[in-house]
């Protein structure tokens, strides 16, 4: 055991001690309380410094600074833990982002398919006559003052229009002409799809106006035929032809769609 600091083997001046006496420590303590000295002042100063530092350290220790007093090794350990946690969080983020992207792309595919289907429905609806249609085209008015026109004239006209790529036909604003439309003779005029139509016949056709008009008006064509039987045909090209009559879609009785086509 080393000697206590502050002890000197040979003490020369003992201001508190009366020479020749050898008092006990307790007595010396008692005496020093009553007789302050320079040494005591120094001790007081240093003890005060010690108390000051101790209080500061206690306060620091109590403060909530988890990482401030840590050493390098401890900080590295804490950092490693945090890095592991952050790696795990990043993996979670990546997983969730993948899931989100998958969901988003599937939603997008579904939306695209839906848009395509809607477009197809509109296209097919025009062709099948289930929806009203509008667009450029011609309006051909056929008059028949003498009643000499027959069903064949009308059929010829419709056929010529079809050859010219017509997309929607309506006669007299009452009958929509589609693929299945039937034409019959009637004493008073013609029956189209069972509807009695009387002259003058007004044919609304949507398509390229020039092509449609040309299909009716050529040597020996529809207009010539009608004129030969003392009728007249007036072809107008309005900016917008409206085909507002619609048909109910008929479910085919015999034909079935081949799936997967």
């Amino acid at each position: 055991m080393s000697p206590p600091p502050g002890a000197t083997p040979a003490e020369e001046d003992r201001p508190d001690d009366v020479p020749g006496e050898n008092p006990t420590g307790l007595a010396r303590l008692r005496r020093s309380f009553l007789a302050p000295s320079r040494g005591q002042a120094v001790v007081a100063l240093l003890v005060g410094v010690l108390a000051f530092a101790a209080v500061t350290q206690v306060r620091l220790n109590g403060a909530d600074d988890t990482y401030a007093g840590l050493r390098e090794a401890e900080l590295v350990q804490a950092l490693n833990g945090l890095q592991a946690a952050s790696r795990k969080a990043e993996r979670d983020i990546t997983d969730l982002e993948t899931t989100r992207d998958q969901l988003r792309s599937s939603t997008q595919r579904r939306t695209t398919a839906l848009d395509q289907a809607r477009q197809e429905v509109a296209t097919l609806g025009v062709l099948a006559g289930t929806v009203p249609a509008t667009g450029p085209g011609i309006r051909a008015t056929v008059t028949d003052p003498k009643g000499d026109l027959t069903l064949n004239h009308l059929l010829d006209g419709v056929e010529e229009l079809r050859n010219a790529g017509v997309e929607a036909i309506e006669i007299n604003d009452r009958v929509r002409v589609i693929a299945q439309t039937s034409f019959e003779d009637d004493p008073e005029g013609v029956r189209v799809d069972g509807v009695l139509l009387k002259p003058p016949y007004v044919i609304d056709a949507i398509g390229d106006p020039g092509t449609l008009a040309g299909a009716l008006d050529f040597q020996g064509g529809f207009i010539d035929d009608v004129k030969m039987d003392s009728g007249t045909v007036v072809v107008k090209k309005p900016d917008l032809v409206r085909v507002s009559t619609t048909r109910k879609p008929v479910k085919p009785r015999y034909a079935e769609a081949v799936p997967g086509q």
Partner: protein, 110 residues
């Protein structure tokens, strides 16, 4: 008597001022406090033995604090700061215990 007044004044100052310790000194403050405690207890024991000298006390106080701080600083540089500071605290603790035992024998004769 004056020593006790100094102690009280130091505690009050520490509580009132609440000084901010620089970050670089933070690892050394607890070691310095323990080293100073050792010096104070050693001085008290010397006083009771009748061999107290204020010059020796001042030097031992300052050198104790400085050496303890230096050992920890060196340990930090060598990468064993945590272990060395533990060792310093253990050694100083043993010295404090032995000093207190001597003081106890003086005061209570037991």
């Amino acid at each position: 008597m004056i020593a006790i007044i100094g102690l009280v004044v130091g505690v009050v100052l520490g509580l009132v001022l609440t000084p901010d310790v620089p970050l670089a000194l933070q690892p050394y403050l607890p070691i310095a406090v323990v080293a100073a405690l050792d010096a104070v207890f050693g001085a008290f024991r010397a006083f009771l033995d009748g061999i107290f000298d204020d010059k020796v006390f001042v030097i031992s106080f300052v050198s104790n604090v400085l050496i303890a701080g230096m050992i920890v600083f060196l340990g930090d540089k060598l990468g064993v700061g945590a272990q060395l500071s533990t060792g310093v605290v253990v050694v100083l603790g043993i010295r404090i215990f032995s000093n207190v035992a001597a003081i106890r024998r003086h005061l209570f004769h037991a």
